[in-house]
Point group: C2
Chain length 334, copies 2
């Protein structure tokens, strides 16, 4: 933030810097995208438009799991494995709660110490924001900037307990769910529906005598997933075990994601999904813009809150509340 | 439709008719709600506001499953069981595809022959419409009218293969998934995520020698569901078998839904969920209204289609497309 406040670059400087892979400028460009200042909007849009032809060449992977599953250590180890395999990677996070929890994920770069210092990796601390939609949008656009900067893998981390998984699912090609062995209490932290979103489940911490339990958990999930419907991309979700401690299973995950890409590119679902994701983001963007418009107008915002309370307690119908709010909006604008 | 075209009642006639349980007027009121005519809007809103205090007293149950699972015969048998147990019921359907498929669900009332002639039941053929949002909204408001008319159970049927399950899930208290024995090809028709939404899975057609396979399938699903996280209402989804042919399992399903209601009312999640659902419908309504506004304005609509194509093919960013569409909307209104 300090860097950015000190100096705002020209559109050309941002664009050339990002495309040439200059990570200082990449960071500044992401800060520009994340800016809430109205005067930054046009510049952000210009930069994004210009780098668009350089995007789309990476594989985008979403990684989720409850706190305690070992996401950071997994990403550190898997990231280093990717680098060893000749790849480069950017790590981003969606965490709308980071303001409250003071950066629960990626807030502290030291949690991925080796990775964040590696020249082949770029670790961006979590974007903060009040609305999930806003944070998610910034993360998606940050991912585009990272692609333009030449990173071949984009990892998007999310906390696995809230609404953010759908947002991540809508911006990645492959969705990896990290789980602990033992389908006990910790399971209840995961939000419903996430399991079915997963293209792969990896049981973490399969080390230090925990290997057998991890293998057994993997087999149970494998059996369970067979009962569930496949995605329209006809990919049967895989289940594996891994250890961030000794690196076991990292190559298998790397190979599986490669096989997934070959499979989905082969049947056309890879590109189809990306096109649909673009469209989803456009539509979400229109809704967000509308919400922001309501929020910037005092009378609309007051009415919105008033109506929300009345609707919740069933004092007026959603139909009437909708009409009243819309009428107010039309009045405000015209 | 004919009745409605012949005669439009006054607000007072609709309201009194619905509240007194007059099913001819109930049908006319639903037709009014479903009307796409702008001049019907104010009347529909007035009727809905007036009946609102009479709503909320039923239990709302969503029922889904792929074609072939036997939804209609199940609903017929389960509905008669409800009536035998002293209940009354209204059956509605969400099926945005019904225009194309000429009423694939509930389109033909004869598919629930006994139920549709029973004085304690009301079966409403599927609403038609071009957008899922629109159809779902009408179904939700039709359900409110049915509640005001005194029905103690509202069953909302959906096809189980599209986007409509989320919409149904957002308007019911309890979500019942019908499945066939044998986790074979037929499974692939079900959309991902539906399984995890279910509060109960019932294996249908457990009769005529199929009982053992059904029991086994039920056990497999039971094992699988244990691996999955519970809802925040702390309800562990149940799995059972049933037969619409001989009525086996109907009492168990009836009892389970009762137990669910007791459980969720006990921990407060029943009312909490309904409040949240009200809010969701309000927000969805605002978005739909916005979409409709775009559609009624030629230049906005053209721009929208143009931008959708460009966004899909990555020619412009979602960010820019959003801004362009929003600017156009502001211009149109002011």
């Amino acid at each position: 933030m300090t860097t950015y406040r000190r100096k705002r670059l020209s559109a050309q400087e941002y664009i050339e810097g990002v495309i040439s892979g200059n990570r200082t400028i990449l960071s500044q460009a992401i800060t520009l995208i994340e800016s809430k200042l109205t005067e930054d909007e046009a510049l952000a849009e210009e930069v994004l438009e210009a780098i668009l032809p350089y995007t789309g060449k990476s594989i985008r992977v979403g990684i989720t799991g409850v706190p305690g599953v070992g996401k950071s250590t997994f990403i550190e180890r898997f990231g280093l494995h990717l680098i060893d395999s000749g790849q480069s990677l950017a790590v981003l996070a969606i965490d709308p709660s980071s303001q409250r929890s003071k950066g629960s994920i990626l807030g502290d770069k030291t949690r991925m110490e080796q990775l964040s210092r590696h020249p082949k990796a770029y670790v961006r601390p979590s974007a903060s924001g009040s609305s999930l939609g806003g944070v998610a949008h910034k993360t998606r656009e940050s991912a585009l900037l990272c692609e333009a900067a030449g990173f071949t893998w984009i990892l998007v981390e999310t906390v696995g307990v809230g609404q953010s998984e759908t947002a991540v699912h809508d911006m990645v090609d492959f969705f990896l769910l990290l789980m602990l062995a033992g389908a006990g209490d910790e399971l209840q932290g995961i939000k419903k529906g996430i399991m079915e979103m997963a293209d792969m489940i990896a049981i973490t911490k399969s080390d230090q005598g925990n290997e057998k339990a991890a293998k057994q958990a993997a087999q149970e999930y494998r059996n369970a997933l067979h009962l569930f419907p496949m995605n329209e991309n006809l990919w049967q979700p895989k289940v594996s075990t891994c250890s961030a401690l000794n690196g076991m299973g990292m190559e298998e995950i790397y190979q599986t994601i490669g096989a997934f890409q070959t499979h989905t590119e082969g049947n056309g679902s890879f590109q189809k999904r990306r096109r649909e994701q673009n469209l989803t983001w456009f539509k979400t963007g229109v809704v967000m813009r509308m919400e922001r418009f309501i929020q910037t107008n005092k009378s609309s915002q007051d009415l919105m809150h008033h109506l929300e309370e009345k609707v919740k307690s069933n004092q007026i119908s959603a139909l009437k509340a909708t009409r009243l709010l819309f009428d107010e909006l039309m009045n405000t604008i015209s």
